[in-house]
């Protein structure tokens, strides 16, 4: 074995010194408005991928000095990241529960869109699925999103409302994975958002779930308190909630927030 001996204290000392050098906290927020171009990081639910991409383009067009960077993932993963100190400026979640998890780190969450569930099946609906009741059939392979994922929790609510017990073959870790299992033909049906079926391509189609069984997913958006770019982040939120922003979201199949 190659084993040149090193003075025993040297290595750990070096390590500590270097780590300490790298550990400095970010300097305080720069004076708003002036200085280098702002870059806001928007953490958004995976189901918002297409719609927010479009909104990002509109935002940059209207605010040339500000860059928008997106981090799309399951809301539960994003909430965990923000709780662990990820540098988010805006958080848009697919449910209020994940927004509540970071309640002390964001200010003034507001709903901006809603989404409904749909049954996703192969194009042409070869298994003749007409509603949630059919998902209990023994000859079907059904995939759901895992209960940790908002889509999975909503699916369970919908199935409970319909009084249907499903034995899923898999609980996928995000709603898009459930879509792909159906579009690959591995599963016969799944419960996903209407917007996922729209985005799912020509191998899949949706079977509507009646309003009385359906669950409306409400999407809240909030400013992250630790953001260095409060002003720009708020501008992005304003765009999402503006009539133009709402129009973009509707174009991707989202519904307006139900008046309460």
């Amino acid at each position: 074995m190659v084993r040149p001996r090193i003075r025993s204290a040297a290595a750990p000392l070096l390590l500590v010194a270097l780590l300490a050098a790298g550990c400095g906290r970010d300097a305080g927020p720069p004076a708003g408005g002036s200085g280098p171009p702002a870059e806001i990081k928007v953490f958004a639910a995976a189901s918002l991928t297409a719609a927010f991409g479009k909104l990002g383009e509109q935002f940059t067009a209207a605010h040339p000095g500000t860059k928008v960077v997106f981090n799309f993932a399951g809301s539960q993963a994003l909430a965990t990241q923000i709780r662990q100190g990820a540098p988010a400026d805006v958080f848009a979640a697919a449910d209020t529960r994940n927004m509540d998890k970071v309640a002390d780190q964001v200010s003034n969450p507001q709903s901006f869109a809603s989404n409904l569930l749909q049954i996703i099946v192969a194009k042409g609906n070869p298994k003749g699925i007409r509603g949630l009741e059919d998902l209990a059939r023994k000859d079907l392979k059904v995939v759901l999103a895992a209960p940790e994922v908002p889509a999975g929790r909503y699916s369970k609510e919908a199935l409970d409302k319909a009084g249907v017990t499903v034995r899923p073959v898999s609980l996928e870790d995000n709603v898009k994975a459930a879509v792909s299992k159906v579009s690959l033909g591995e599963a016969d049906a799944g419960i996903v958002y209407v917007t996922d079926v729209t985005a799912g391509g020509d191998k899949v189609e949706g079977v509507d779930i009646p309003v009385e069984q359906n669950v409306a997913a409400t999407y809240p958006i909030a400013l992250v308190k630790a953001s260095r770019y409060q002003e720009q982040a708020q501008q992005f939120i304003d765009l999402v909630r503006s009539p133009e922003g709402q129009q973009v979201l509707e174009g991707y199949g989202f519904l307006p927030v139900p008046a309460s």
Binding site: M1, I6, L15, E172, E186
Partner: protein, 271 residues
Amino acid sequence: MTGIARRGRAGSAAGVPLLFAVPAALAVGFLAIPLLGLLEQTSWRQLASELTAPQARLALRLSLVCSLGAVAISLLLGVPLAWLLARVEFPGRNLVRALTTLPMVLPPVVGGVALLLAFGRRGLVGQWLDRAFGVTLPFTTMGAVLAEAFVAMPFLVITTEAGLRAMDRRFEDAAATLGAGRWTTFRRVTLPLIAPSLGAGAALCWARALGEFGATITFAGNLPGSTQTMPLAVYLALETDLQAAIALSLVLLVVSLAVLIALRDRWFPTA
């Protein structure tokens, strides 16, 4: 080995160039600090209750079943393959060896997608399996076993082949001259002689199978009790129940360490 050691002894503390000492120390810290983080966050009082919670117990048992199944498949198919690679000259041998080791470097998620396209319900082989036998592998425990075997078998094949190449073949020749058939020679002479590398290979294979995540969640899906192995349970628990995730991670860490310690002298049987 001894030659290198002698040369190494000449390097005293003063002889270690800073250029090497600093990045080396950083590397050690980089690799070791995450493990410390895991230990630091562990709630030792909760550990037992976390590991005996129903979901964790299901995942532990399933991981044990699947990883041992994957080792069994690897032994059954991988040892003959290793023997062929080590002992028989055949055209395309290097290509076969490259193909066999590909899963070691392939991203496991890619492996999972490939498995779906091959053994899925609409897959190359899978559609035939479905039609002829009514067998579908995705979303089944067998699917999880296959996903683990796919990524873990190369470790067994490589280690066993190295063992076969390193052993003294004169013992086999002697057995043959004394009238032993091929199978008897293999069973009574070859196998005992390569037992250390076979054991090392099987242990590596098992550890890799136990930690498999990407291919499993892609090909076999995620259902507690049938395909949700420990790494999958860790991943999902991470988002809702950090302590459960840490407890399961700790089990995986301890197993990996145990395999490492058991194999420290046999890591490279040919060296």
